[in-house]
Symmetry: D3
Subunit: 253 residues, 6 copies
Amino acid sequence: MRTDERKSNQIRPVKLELNYTMHAEGSVLISMGQTKVICTASIEDRVPPFMRGQGKGWITAEYSMLPRATEQRNMRESTKGKVTGRTMEIQRLIGRALRSVIDLGKLGERTLWIDCDVIQADGGTRTASITGAFIALSLALHKLKEDGKLKAWPVKDFLAAVSVGVNSESEVLLDLCYEEDATAEVDMNVVMTGAHQFVEVQGTGEEATFSRQQFNQLLDYAEEGIEQLFLIQKEALGEEISKLILAAEKEGK
Amino acid sequence: MRTDERKSNQIRPVKLELNYTMHAEGSVLISMGQTKVICTASIEDRVPPFMRGQGKGWITAEYSMLPRATEQRNMRESTKGKVTGRTMEIQRLIGRALRSVIDLGKLGERTLWIDCDVIQADGGTRTASITGAFIALSLALHKLKEDGKLKAWPVKDFLAAVSVGVNSESEVLLDLCYEEDATAEVDMNVVMTGAHQFVEVQGTGEEATFSRQQFNQLLDYAEEGIEQLFLIQKEALGEEISKLILAAEKEGK
Amino acid sequence: MRTDERKSNQIRPVKLELNYTMHAEGSVLISMGQTKVICTASIEDRVPPFMRGQGKGWITAEYSMLPRATEQRNMRESTKGKVTGRTMEIQRLIGRALRSVIDLGKLGERTLWIDCDVIQADGGTRTASITGAFIALSLALHKLKEDGKLKAWPVKDFLAAVSVGVNSESEVLLDLCYEEDATAEVDMNVVMTGAHQFVEVQGTGEEATFSRQQFNQLLDYAEEGIEQLFLIQKEALGEEISKLILAAEKEGK
Amino acid sequence: MRTDERKSNQIRPVKLELNYTMHAEGSVLISMGQTKVICTASIEDRVPPFMRGQGKGWITAEYSMLPRATEQRNMRESTKGKVTGRTMEIQRLIGRALRSVIDLGKLGERTLWIDCDVIQADGGTRTASITGAFIALSLALHKLKEDGKLKAWPVKDFLAAVSVGVNSESEVLLDLCYEEDATAEVDMNVVMTGAHQFVEVQGTGEEATFSRQQFNQLLDYAEEGIEQLFLIQKEALGEEISKLILAAEKEGK
Amino acid sequence: MRTDERKSNQIRPVKLELNYTMHAEGSVLISMGQTKVICTASIEDRVPPFMRGQGKGWITAEYSMLPRATEQRNMRESTKGKVTGRTMEIQRLIGRALRSVIDLGKLGERTLWIDCDVIQADGGTRTASITGAFIALSLALHKLKEDGKLKAWPVKDFLAAVSVGVNSESEVLLDLCYEEDATAEVDMNVVMTGAHQFVEVQGTGEEATFSRQQFNQLLDYAEEGIEQLFLIQKEALGEEISKLILAAEKEGK
Amino acid sequence: MRTDERKSNQIRPVKLELNYTMHAEGSVLISMGQTKVICTASIEDRVPPFMRGQGKGWITAEYSMLPRATEQRNMRESTKGKVTGRTMEIQRLIGRALRSVIDLGKLGERTLWIDCDVIQADGGTRTASITGAFIALSLALHKLKEDGKLKAWPVKDFLAAVSVGVNSESEVLLDLCYEEDATAEVDMNVVMTGAHQFVEVQGTGEEATFSRQQFNQLLDYAEEGIEQLFLIQKEALGEEISKLILAAEKEGK
């Protein structure tokens, strides 16, 4: 039995507060258990230099934690004067994942800035960020569409992410909280699309290793969890946006 | 009449959500109109090198905005690799202000880290940060007291801050929202204690100047606004903490 | 009685060595007692990107201390790799103050770089910098005028600054030297124009507070001190430049 | 058929020049096709602060490319003043992978610094770095053992890594060269131990996605390639060191 | 007798592996005894901003050491976040020296990036870098010429460098290895052209001094050593390139 | 004839204002023609980590220019966030030169911080800095001696520096002003001791070269110039300090 009495293949309660902030074109406060992340999508009407003149858009993501989002206070990266390796890894992952379900050609020459700011951390902040960022991004693009600024709908499919792991008793667990994560032997983050395709799989033995059989079970659990997240995303985004995405997904096949 | 129909000497609605985050020893989400700031107080059981061995504590503050707290997205300071002059000014101000009502000798050799993170900005973020930080700090110190780790109560008095300004029609206004602030000719931030003493007055003609008479009216309005903030702080902190503070204030006279 | 036998409302001897350096368009070595600052004004024939195409000029200020300007040697900011918060606060203050008496539209698309380098520090370096920078700026603009490069005279009024404070015996003092400043309970910097308008008032209780009555006396002393600085500025700049400024001031009313 | 006429499940020719540099305790120049990396292992007789007093050792890795290791010259990270996100990701990966086969408790309070410097890049630099770093590390530890400074042999198993991918015709390929890598739809790096356990699996759809079936074939190919790398490592390290590792592996089971 | 049995005026064995890397337009691995440096020359078809529109080219050099090129591992400059003073001095020296024998007007608006990366250090890395960089540069320019992209041959003369020094017994030595260099009282680097002209002489008493007589002997030894380096350069570059350089040298007289 | 009518082997007028600043243990304002440098020596009662426990002292130098010391304003290095290569070269040179005439063992475990700040630049700032820094250092050490804190006098000999060069008409010139320096073909800085020994010789062909014969004449001129600087130093330091230095020099022979 897990500390919060969940089953091994059960995700934590998810809560999505859409349009959480007033200025961003799209925003959401996502809670996965005690992990809380503000995700915003901001639209800029130009692309970075390496993309100019191609008629395509770009998506870039940034990730940060408030200093006291964690049990121990962490020094701010602005005070350190540099972004840590962990942060860079995470924000590169978020951006890459989102770009896999967006048709950049249909964005026009625009940059979508995704900001994921962790307000409270209890494990799984990077996967919650991806799941939330997809919502913020869809809201921002829907706003663009409403304003008549998009020629075609660019979101090709749903996108969500979850963590899975192996604990010290060799049990596979879905959606680890911090306490479970800190003692896990294997830690894996999985990002998938609505069409059950993988976008990213990052599995790490934390000074340990794992067998091919465990690997398969980890993927099974991840698929189960992400399936539930898609249902929650659909309900939150509502029928209109969900239909746009599903139509694009069918068209893409 | 102001854009939001307030009177010139009226503050915006204030909301305080105490214990907003689970990890920090003290925390609050303060809203002043549309301005929202998460203030946390974290306790570390040692002091910076320049304070060691004096048997006294220290309070230090950091301030930041989420990139899309504002109308236009701002680049993160961690990405820039340095903290801007504006941020440094503000966090030095917050720290100084809080230290003026805390008896550092009664803290013991501890550092209190105050973090003010602006989630949404609509003018007056630095004054809201001070008013909120005082709450977070008081909650953290009360927790220390409850845990039997404080010999004496260190909060000597209430502390709150408000902005005042002069608009382009030479009217004095209390608690400016962003739209008013952006066009103001004079901008002043005032920090006061419960005993009606000034802690900090920073008045700036924004490529303009102001007379001594205007100065006096600005101070009158600030006093009025801060008086109301004290009532709200007292109610939020509750009777037990408020009594501790008032007792310390009387003792200090 | 003060350490140097001055009266509480008396400023230190002021000395201005105009055209102190050979390369700068305007320069002065200002001494206020033992505090010595080299102020230079440099003209660049373009403005920063955010100002381009507006037909207006810009003024920006930088402030620094030689490492051994102070009693203890300070590490250079270039060695630290960053400008401290204190320096940023001061250079932002100097720039803002100067811009309040200059008609940027009359500058043309030029940047005036003001450099204030403290050679020797004995309190009041930021106010001496402002008082001196006004001289350097006026000399540089007069040179531009002589060269026929200015259509209209841009200096709208005189500008000077002084520090005031409250010592541990609750006495108000004008123009504090370092020894007085280090032990002051309240420290205030006041910047005013020749027309007796305030440009900036920054009053800080140094882990202490101050009453409204003390505030008023601080302002009275500051006004007295600044009045004397205007006389010294006028004499140093000479009749021709002073008349240009006074004419502009009358016109502005 | 691939550009260099390899079969889809064939690795490139591997060459290992052991003891390539004179100063490092262990070193190798590894070539995988045209990709060439100098790997060195340096021993320092202390551990980082967070490890002190635990009687355990630490392994940390750094990775870099010469500016002209690539087709286009890249700016040095020292000139940029910071390490890029890509470099951080890679050096964190190398360090984590090596630590998974080393018993840190048997190292004593020592740090092993692993440096992987890419002299010439043609795809797969991070996996070649891991495969080579394992050699350099083993040589350095064997030297320590010869010098009587190790109580027990700390290398618990062999370790090697390879890249696999899916090209635009949906074919799975083993050990991609740069030309193949640049156009791949899926890119995966796999690190395994001699006991056929996974240490790290990082699979990324490059603005594309992949199915579970493709995932399985990618893992099959990776296992095949790594199996061959183990044979090459054993031959290069020689009988004595290989026996030490295999004995430790058996003991660990 | 020296540690490696050389005579006092004898240089170490020199080895040049031309075209050492596949991507660079020109490259060489130079060994001077145990000192090994990879020198590459990269061609970029534009010049830095301060050179634009002058119809001339530019040459810039960068120098670095692998962390374990030395007896003790050195922290990477990318990790430190800045280039050290020593590195800057050396790369400025290499760039200046190369520019003295190149007719920048004949390069066209191109930048030649010279990278000198020390693989193994045993004294004299900066002089080996210059001697090797001249080879890499000549090869790159010859390639440009072969491709019909150069109107005239820009290399005006040969260029080589060597170190000389005075040991603690006041003996003058040519081409010091690390052990000799570390204990030398005087250390001098000399750069000369094929026409026996000096380009750079940098002599330093290492907490010691030297007489004019010693100075003369140091220069005599340096000339001898450099004379031998020219023979090695000529043989390595081959008849065709050597003739181009010698013809340009005669023309220049 | 030179622009200021000097003879080719004549130095510019030298002026030394001793004890120029009130806080530093030793200080001087040195003028060489229009070049003006404030040199201060500060004493710290500890040494850097790499020197601890050896019973010896250390001398370190920093060099900077005010932004408008030059004809065109230069950006501050603190604003750039890093020290340039030129500055590093110069401050390393100053420190090395001073250490050659100081017996570090006689300093005790102290650091002498030398700061050379160029107030106005007209060529030869680094050599003026060395000549001035020697004065500031001697004054500071004499103060230490007067305070009874030195067991033995550590200054072993006089030290001065001068620049020499070759102009475009192949004439050798002593002590170049900026205009001469900017167009010189060869630029050489020479540092010597009172005993006519060389400490440092740095000769650079500025995209030009020089013959051995020219080299000899450059050294002759430098010796002449430095000889005059010694006379000026002796007179400025006065009989007591000069005797201490000369006695130490004789003892050292």
